[in-house]
């Protein structure tokens, strides 16, 4: 698994478009901050983090998802790996760990950039403020990783890169979440479980954030539900990947 992981890191480090894409995002963020710098205050960094970071699952996560998961489909690399005798479960788990690792690096980078920009404009955030910024980053990191795991099922099940990316974006933009919440308001669902909507991924991430903000601890039930989402998604990915033949 380690050798495959090292190969994937090597590949991604040689993906020039990734540097270009995140470079453009960083420059855009800097320009936006420059335009709004006269409204900066000691507390504005928090509202910035809360608003801007909510776009990261789509903006940053979308690119990472494509780079980690769907590049393999376009290049038929999955066939190469399986033909070499690599275990399909190992491929799926490695991809998930890679997505998690890259997401952590990107979110850490964004936090660093946020700190640097506010410091540069004369409002260096305190450690406590950066701790809160970190919580907003964590909330979006959780949805980025979890939705990537869910959309990964489509990558391995359907083996259609465009469809998988679109599904990932639909998930992170909250379209499915919104539709399901509407559906869960129907009498049929409220009769079964009145708070079904709270168990959707977006709400679970919010519950984790809320718990951390209020008491500094992760709500156990929300954490368990989150981990169950991940485990079920990865297990389903392995299952469909094992059953589905590789296309050429």
């Amino acid at each position: 698994m380690l050798s495959y992981f090292r190969g994937e890191v090597y590949r991604l480090l040689h993906k020039r478009s990734m540097y270009l894409y995140f470079g453009i995002l960083a420059v855009g963020y800097c320009l936006l901050s420059f335009a709004r710098s006269d409204t900066f205050t000691a507390g504005s960094i928090l509202s910035d983090a809360e608003n801007l970071y909510s776009y990261l699952p789509a903006l940053a996560g979308g690119f990472l998802f494509a780079a980690v998961f769907t590049d393999d489909l376009q290049s038929k690399n999955l066939a190469t790996l399986v033909g070499f005798g690599m275990n399909k479960a190992m491929i799926v788990v490695s991809k998930f760990i890679l997505m998690l690792l890259l997401s952590v690096i990107v979110y850490a980078g964004v936090m660093l950039l946020t700190w640097a920009i506010h410091a540069a404009f004369g409002w260096p955030p305190s450690a406590d403020t950066m701790g809160l910024v970190g919580l907003f980053a964590l909330r979006n990191l959780l949805t980025t990783v979890a939705f990537a795991a869910v959309a990964g099922i489509l990558v391995y099940g359907l083996q259609r890169s465009t469809f998988a990316i679109v599904c990932y974006l639909i998930l992170v933009l909250g379209i499915v979440d919104g539709l399901l919440v509407q559906a869960f308001m129907l009498d049929f669902f409220t009769a079964i479980a009145p708070d079904l909507g709270n168990h959707l991924l977006e709400r679970i991430a919010n519950r984790i954030l809320g718990g951390l903000l209020e008491s500094g601890t992760v709500p156990l039930l929300a954490a368990i539900e989150y981990v169950i989402y991940l485990i079920v998604s990865i297990a389903l990915s392995v299952l469909v990947f094992t059953r589905r033949e590789l296309e050429f």
């Binding site: 050798s3 495959y4 190969g7 590949r11 290049s75 190469t80 399986v82 070499f84």
Partner: protein, 329 residues
């Protein structure tokens, strides 16, 4: 003939109602360059997909290496190219370096340099997406040869190439076979090209392995001959056979087919004419490899060998297809 290094037994692969492989039993011997010949859609790629674990056969068995070896572990010792494809943004060196890391190949820099030189891509820096078809195929072969695998599977390596590209690939395969001693199994629908590299052949049609044959046996089937059309074929045959030196001749209708003394057509025509037999036509004929292949397919079709799920074309008393006879080696 070396030891058997890859063997399939009664391999069946279905896609819905369509049976792509019908009880294919194929043996690959160590050191072979095995040419799997078949028309488009005959089942060559499906066979490779089953061998490489990319498709699950419905029934049958595959043994790679020794009997009892685990298939996935055995596949670590194989290299393959089915539709040469790499990450579009990586150059040739980066593509092979990636595979080296994934396959845990030691001394990867030296290995990559060696293979890039072999396929003449050592000076190329541009990304894979800008490659010509020939360059893609050559890099695909280099990828298949990484780590000196004991078995190399190449699916249609000359597909879509110009004559120079085909010659280049041929040279690469020959050179790699000589250097590494690896066993190759190569598919193509161009028999004449495979003939220049392969030591054994398997002919596949509609999912049925019609015949396995050595290079020598194949060429014995494709001899040159001299065909004569005469007024009395029986008398002409007797006349020619009675000559000193024993001319090999057979007759059919008003035609004679001569398989010896092919460089002496004047002598033969004089004998016939001086024997009082009218000679209407005389021409050199040769059964080409393609003729042989087409003849094989037509014979199989006429015999109904490619029909039915198991490819046997046989029926039992109840009118159902028989269960045996997919392998016509």
């Amino acid at each position: 003939m070396g030891r058997t290094i890859l063997q399939t037994h009664d391999l069946i692969k279905r896609y819905g109602d369509f049976t792509a492989l019908k009880r294919v039993s194929l043996s690959l011997y160590e050191g072979d360059i095995y040419g799997l010949v078949g028309r488009n859609g005959a089942g060559k790629t499906t066979f490779f997909k089953c061998v490489m674990g990319l498709a699950r056969p419905n029934s049958g068995s595959i043994v790679i290496g020794e009997a009892g070896d685990k298939l996935n572990a055995a596949r670590h010792r194989m290299g393959f190219m089915i539709n040469a494809s790499f990450f579009p943004y990586l150059g040739p060196r980066e593509s092979l370096e990636y595979l080296c890391r994934v396959k845990k190949i030691p001394a990867r820099r030296e290995e990559v340099t060696r293979l890039l030189k072999l396929v003449e891509l050592d000076t190329v820096k541009k990304p894979f997406k800008t490659f010509s078809q020939g360059m893609k195929q050559r890099l695909g072969i280099a990828g298949a040869l990484l780590g000196s695998p004991s078995i190399v599977v190449l699916d249609e390596p000359i597909n879509g190439l110009d004559p120079q590209g085909i010659a280049d690939i041929r040279d690469i395969i020959k050179s790699a076979h000589q250097v590494s001693g690896a066993t190759f199994i190569i598919s193509s629908h161009i028999l004449s090209e495979l003939d220049l590299v392969a030591t054994r052949f398997g002919f596949i049609e509609q999912g049925v392995l019609l015949r396995e044959i050595t290079h020598e046996e194949l060429h014995a089937q494709t001899k040159k001959s001299l065909t004569l059309r005469v007024s009395d074929a029986v008398r002409a045959q007797a006349l020619l056979q009675s000559q000193p030196g024993g001319i090999q001749v057979s007759s059919s209708g008003d035609c004679l087919t001569i398989e010896s003394h092919l460089d002496e057509p004047q002598l033969i025509s004089r004998m016939v004419v001086e024997g009082g037999i009218e000679l209407f036509e005389m021409r050199h004929a040769q059964t080409t490899l393609e003729d042989y292949f087409i003849h094989l397919i037509r014979t199989a079709e006429a015999a109904g060998l490619t029909n039915g799920e198991d490819g046997s074309g046989l029926t039992n008393r109840s009118g159902k297809k028989g269960r045996r006879g997919a392998h016509y080696a």
